[in-house]
C-alpha cells in the first residue's frame, strides 16, 4: 500500500484535468496519415519547454530527446504515432458531391450515414446513404462499395474543398462516467503519454521520444526514426482493440477478445509484426506487480505497431509494445476507460524507472 501512495505523490502519473484537456485537443484534431500537421503543432507546443533536443525529420516525425542523469544511461526509444485513419477526397462530381478513398484500414461498413470534417478548416460534411424506402431487402444484405459513397458539404461548397484534401470522422471527444468516447484514441493515447513522460521523465535513462507519422499506412515514420535514434531498446505505446463483447450465441465463449476493458494496460507478447523480447515482457510484468498496477497480456495474434519496424532496424533493437485497450478502433467512435489509460501511464513510468544496463546485457532467450 505504501507503494501506491508513493505513486500518487509523484507528479505526472495521475490523469487529471490537464491531461484530459490535452487528450481532448489531440483527439479532436485532424491528422490523417501523410498530413499530420495539426497534431504535430500541438505536440511541438506542448514539449518545447521540456525536451533537450527537438527535431522534425524528412517525413514529419517529431523526434525529441530528454537526457537523464548518471552514468551508463540506457537509451530508450518510445514511439507513438500521430496519424489516424481517415479519408482523402479523390474526385469532385458534377453534383458538388465528393468521392473519396480510405487511408488506413477502415471497414467500409462503418462509413454510411456518418458526419465528417474535411480539410484544414474542418468543414462539415456527411457521408449519406440511399433512403431505405428506395432499397430492396436483397440490396440491404450487400455492402455499399466505397466508390459509391459521397461526401456532401452542401451545394455551395465551391472550391473550398478539392481532391487531395483529407477528412476524418467528425466525432467530438466526450467523457461519460468511467469512459472516454472519441475518435483517434489510436493513437492519441500514446501521444498524450509520451508528452507526460517528457514532462516527468524517469531520471535513470535517456528518453528518446518519436511522435511518428504514417503508422497506419505501413509503419513508415517509425522506421526512419529508429534508424536516426539507434536506441538500446524501444517501446511502442499504442492503443489496441478490446473485442470483449458477448458472443451472439450465449452458449459460446468469446475466445478472441484480444484485450478486456478495465483489465489495465495490455502488454504484447506477439502480434503479426513483432515477437517481443521476453526480457522486456518480464520488465513490464515485474514493474506492474511491484507497484500493484493491474495489467493484461494482449492475446497473441494479429495486428502490428511501430515496434514492428523498429526492432528490425539496423542490427536489431530489443522492442516491445504496451497499449491502452479500446473498443471500436478504426471506427467513428472509440470507447476506453480513463483508469486503463492512467494505469498504462503509471506502468510505463514504473517500467522505465527499472531499466538498467544489466537488463539487456545477456543474450535474448525467448
Amino acid at each position: 500500500m505504501t507503494k501506491n501512495s508513493e505513486l500518487t505523490a509523484n507528479k505526472g502519473f495521475d490523469i487529471g484535468e490537464q491531461q484530459i484537456e490535452l487528450l481532448e485537443k489531440l483527439c479532436n484534431a485532424t491528422a490523417v496519415s501523410g498530413d499530420e500537421h495539426e497534431v504535430r503543432q500541438i505536440v511541438l507546443a506542448e514539449i518545447k519547454s521540456f525536451a533537450d533536443e527537438i527535431e522534425v525529420d524528412a517525413l514529419g516525425n517529431v523526434l525529441a530527446k530528454r537526457f537523464g542523469s548518471g552514468e551508463n544511461r540506457v537509451r530508450v526509444m518510445l514511439a507513438a504515432h500521430m496519424d489516424e485513419i481517415g479519408f482523402m477526397i479523390v474526385k469532385k462530381h458534377d453534383d458538388n458531391l465528393f468521392q473519396f478513398e480510405r487511408v488506413g484500414g477502415i471497414d467500409e461498413r462503418q462509413l454510411p450515414g456518418k458526419a465528417v470534417l474535411v480539410g484544414r478548416d474542418h468543414l462539415a460534411g456527411v457521408i449519406g446513404a440511399k433512403p431505405i424506402h428506395m432499397t430492396t431487402a436483397d440490396e440491404r444484405m450487400k455492402k455499399i462499395p466505397v466508390d459509391a459513397l459521397r461526401i456532401d458539404l452542401g451545394p455551395e461548397i465551391g472550391d473550398k474543398v478539392k481532391p487531395g484534401d483529407r477528412a476524418t470522422f467528425a466525432t467530438r471527444f466526450k467523457l461519460h462516467g468511467p469512459s472516454i468516447l472519441a475518435k483517434a484514441l489510436d493513437d492519441r493515447f500514446g501521444v498524450s503519454m509520451l508528452i507526460e513522460l517528457l514532462k516527468h521523465p524517469p531520471a535513470n535513462i535517456d528518453l528518446l521520444t518519436a511522435f511518428t507519422v504514417q503508422e497506419e499506412v505501413g509503419l513508415r515514420g517509425a522506421r526512419v526514426a529508429a534508424y536516426k535514434f539507434n536506441p538500446d531498446m524501444a517501446i511502442a505505446v499504442d492503443s489496441t482493440p478490446a473485442y470483449d463483447l458477448p458472443h451472439w450465441d450465449e452458449e459460446d465463449e468469446n475466445v478472441q477478445y484480444n484485450t478486456h476493458l478495465d483489465a489495465g494496460p495490455a502488454i504484447y507478447v506477439m502480434d503479426r509484426a513483432t515477437i517481443a523480447d521476453r526480457r522486456l515482457v518480464n520488465l513490464f510484468t515485474r514493474a506492474a506487480e511491484a507497484e500493484g498496477i493491474p495489467y493484461q497480456y494482449r492475446q497473441p495474434g494479429g495486428g502490428g505497431t511501430d515496434a514492428g519496424v523498429i526492432h528490425k532496424t539496423r542490427a536489431g533493437i530489443p522492442s516491445i509494445s504496451v497499449s491502452v485497450p479500446s473498443r471500436y478502433a478504426h471506427s467513428a467512435i472509440g470507447l476506453a476507460r480513463i483508469e486503463d489509460w492512467e494505469n498504462t501511464l503509471r506502468l510505463l513510468h514504473a517500467a522505465l524507472s527499472r531499466v538498467t544496463p544489466d537488463l539487456l546485457a545477456g543474450e535474448r532467450r525467448g
Binding site: 465463449e253 475466445v255 478472441q256 507478447v269 506477439m270 515477437i275 515482457v281 497480456y297 492475446q299 497473441p300 495474434g301 494479429g302 526492432h311 528490425k312 532496424t313 539496423r314 542490427a315 536489431g316 533493437i317 530489443p318 543474450e363 535474448r364 532467450r365 525467448g366
Partner: protein
C-alpha cells in the same frame, strides 16, 4: 551427419524462442569457428577466416527457427486456443502432437465442423491433459512446436523442421570441413525467418557482407499431381536458386555457382520457386545491397510434420558450399 541432423530437428525452437537450438549449435561450432557472437534478435553468428586480397566478406544464412503455435486462451476446461507462428496449414494439425518450451506435451484437437469444410486455425485447440484452467501447466503466450521423431529411411530422411534445420546441419558441416578460405565468412544461424526474415535482416546489417548465400529448403515437384509444375526433384542434387517469391538471385552468382558445380563434378539442379521466400532477400537488400544467392535442398511436404529430403542432396550441398567458399568468388 545424421546424428547432428537428428539432434537439430528434434530440438524445439519456434520463431522468437530459439535459445535452445542456439545452444545446441553453439556447441557444435565451438571448435570450428574463429569467433562466435549473438546479436540483438538472438541470431548466432560464427565467423571463420579473415579477408585476404582476393577474398570477400561472405554471409551464409541458415535459419534456426521453426514454425509453431502460441497459446491465446485457456478455457475453463483446460483446453488451449492458439495462433500460428509462421505458416501453419490447419490440415497438417489435427491429431498432431506438440512440445512446449517447458517440456509439456499435448495433442491438437478440432471442434466439430461441417462435413466437407476445411478447418481454420480457430477451429482447433490443444489438449495437454489438463482438466481445468487452474491445473493447466501452460498459459497465454506459451509456445510449442510440432513433435515428431527423426526418421532415417536410408537415402531419404524425414522429420519436422527439415525447414530449416537441415540447412543448419549443412552450415555446421561446412564450417567443420572448410580447411582454408580467402574469405571472411560469417555463418549466420538466423532467427525469426518464418515470420518475415527478421533475424537475417538485422544480422545482414550487422555483418555488412560483400556477398551472401542463404541455405534453405525448396519445394520438390516430384510428387503426384504437383501444381504449378516445378522441375525440382529429390536426389537431383542441391538446387541452385534462380528465384523465389522474395528475391531474384544475382545471375552472376548463379553463373558462378553453376560453373563451380560443373567443374567439381557435383550434381545440381536449377530452382524457380513460385511460392516461398528465404533469407537471401535480406542479404540482397541490406544497406547498399549485396549480390545474393541460395543453395536449396529439395524437400517434400514442407511445413507438415514430416518433411522429406534426400541425404545425397545434403552431402552434395555441403561439398558445393565448401568448394564455393574455398576459392575466390569471381562475378562477371
Amino acid at each position: 551427419m545424421k546424428s547432428i541432423i537428428k539432434q537439430l530437428v528434434e530440438t524445439p525452437g519456434p520463431s522468437g524462442f530459439e535459445h535452445e537450438i542456439r545452444d545446441v549449435i553453439r556447441d557444435a561450432v565451438a571448435d570450428s569457428a574463429d569467433e562466435v557472437r549473438v546479436d540483438a534478435l538472438g541470431s548466432l553468428i560464427a565467423r571463420k577466416g579473415t579477408k585476404t586480397e582476393e577474398g570477400l566478406r561472405v554471409m551464409i544464412s541458415a535459419h534456426i527457427d521453426e514454425i509453431g503455435l502460441m497459446v491465446t486462451h485457456v478455457d475453463e476446461n483446460g483446453f488451449l486456443r492458439f495462433t500460428n507462428i509462421g505458416g501453419i496449414n490447419p490440415l497438417t494439425c489435427y491429431g498432431g502432437r506438440v512440445l512446449f518450451m517447458d517440456g509439456t506435451r499435448g495433442v491438437i484437437g478440432m471442434d466439430s465442423i461441417e462435413r466437407g469444410k476445411t478447418p481454420k486455425l480457430t477451429d482447433l485447440f490443444i489438449d495437454v491433459g489438463a482438466t481445468d484452467k487452474d491445473n493447466c501447466p501452460v498459459g497465454v503466450g506459451d509456445v510449442c512446436g510440432f513433435e515428431r521423431p527423426f526418421l532415417d529411411l536410408g537415402k531419404r530422411m524425414v522429420a519436422k523442421s527439415m525447414d530449416d534445420r537441415i540447412a543448419a546441419a549443412i552450415a555446421i558441416e561446412v564450417l567443420k570441413r572448410l580447411e582454408s578460405t580467402p574469405h571472411e565468412i560469417h555463418f549466420v544461424f538466423s532467427t525469426q525467418e518464418e515470420v518475415g526474415l527478421r533475424g537475417a535482416t538485422t544480422a545482414a546489417y550487422g555483418v555488412d557482407p560483400d556477398l551472401g548465400f542463404a541455405i534453405d529448403v525448396t519445394r520438390s515437384g516430384d510428387t503426384p499431381r504437383f501444381s504449378p509444375k516445378m522441375a525440382t526433384a529429390l536426389g537431383d542434387g542441391p538446387a541452385i536458386k534462380v528465384r523465389d517469391s522474395s528475391f531474384i538471385a544475382d545471375p552472376r552468382l548463379v553463373k558462378w555457382m553453376i560453373k563451380t558445380a560443373e567443374e567439381s563434378g557435383i550434381p545440381y539442379q536449377l530452382e524457380v520457386l513460385e511460392a516461398g521466400g528465404t533469407d537471401g532477400r535480406a542479404i540482397q537488400l541490406t544497406r547498399g545491397g549485396a549480390p545474393a544467392g541460395c543453395v536449396s535442398i529439395a524437400c517434400r511436404y514442407i511445413h507438415s510434420p514430416s518433411e522429406m529430403v534426400d541425404s545425397d542432396d545434403v552431402e552434395n550441398a555441403v561439398e558445393l558450399l565448401v568448394k564455393l567458399l574455398s576459392e575466390p568468388i569471381i562475378l562477371d
